[in-house]
Point group: C3
Chain length 142, copies 3
């Protein structure tokens, strides 16, 4: 189907407590509901270089724990090659983990609902150890 | 150039036989042709967390074989650290490989043709060993 | 806010001198200014499989150097497993590094300005050692 198009945009604030995956699916779906838009795409954008986005299984916690632990093994802290260490041992690994995952995602929707698969959730992945206030821009085109 | 905008959306079904890259460029281009749209972007979205998308060289098979083999070495099955193993040894590696590649891609088009580079193809990357039926949502904004 | 939508598209040419991150933020922002569009998303697409995109810290050079050096250690040249080596030792690593980073990015904008975070820049990541002329398609939907 083909229809006229509109833009709805807002900034979500995500308060992270520690390193790990923080689900934002409901927040994105809530903004979509506010927009009253029907069919189109939601673009999700992370405004930081030490956290990132990923669309991951939202059912079983163990899948997310294994994913995080695997990436921590791939990109360990205190790598003696690192020069950029002013903000601590989790500084440079956080940039690398960000680059290996995603800064932007584009998720389709129809009839006002995100067309995520059954097991998919949208997550902000905090790579720093300390709590942070993060901004995610959601823009709906429909 | 600046012009009015429209949305065309459909769901492609991809039947995978085994682990590996399955090209979907022609299927995406076919939907674009159906849409009759001229200039804009195609967004491609994979509705799963154990397969992913990648835009890769479509000419020489050896580049894809080397890419797959390299990622299999980076994320081997039977890692003793894995806790999420209920669906078999290819379960957790498939989620990790998905997270390291892409769930959504946005490809521009003009005059009704995808603006892919000469050597680029769009691929669904099946990370499970068994055959699966996969869904990819394509949404054209133009 | 909700408004009517339009499309503005152009192709940027990026001349790379060597392997590494080449910032294209100003070029993308310049095209946005030309478009006169207000609120929407910029989609950035790399038309190659041996270079890629990444949104990375644009302030401290050492973060980018560490990122590049880390990825070079993860994907070394002259891996004896590689079969696709006709174009030299940096050929296959360049495809793998591309697949691990990004081919497309979607960056929101408002009031004619990209909504990048304070420390974010958009970079074309050249993975080949020799100079190349690269094409990046930018499409603004607003």
């Amino acid at each position: 189907m083909t229809q006229a198009v509109a833009v709805h945009q807002s900034i979500l604030t995500v308060r992270t407590r520690e390193q790990g995956l923080h689900e934002i699916t409901e927040a994105v779906a809530g903004e979509l509901a506010k927009s009253k838009l029907g069919r189109g795409v939601a673009t999700v954008f992370c405004r930081h270089t030490s956290c990132s986005l990923v669309i991951m299984e939202n059912a079983d916690d163990s899948a997310r724990r294994d994913l995080e632990a695997w990436l921590n093994r791939l990109v360990p802290e205190n790598d003696p090659h690192f020069e950029h260490t002013l903000e601590g041992p989790d500084d440079m690994p956080s940039h690398i983990k960000m680059a290996l995952t995603r800064t932007s995602e584009t998720v389709p929707f129809a009839e006002g609902r995100l067309l995520l698969g059954t097991w998919q959730g949208i997550f902000l992945w905090e790579h720093r150890r300390a709590p942070h206030t993060r901004e995610v821009v959601v823009t709906f085109l429909a």
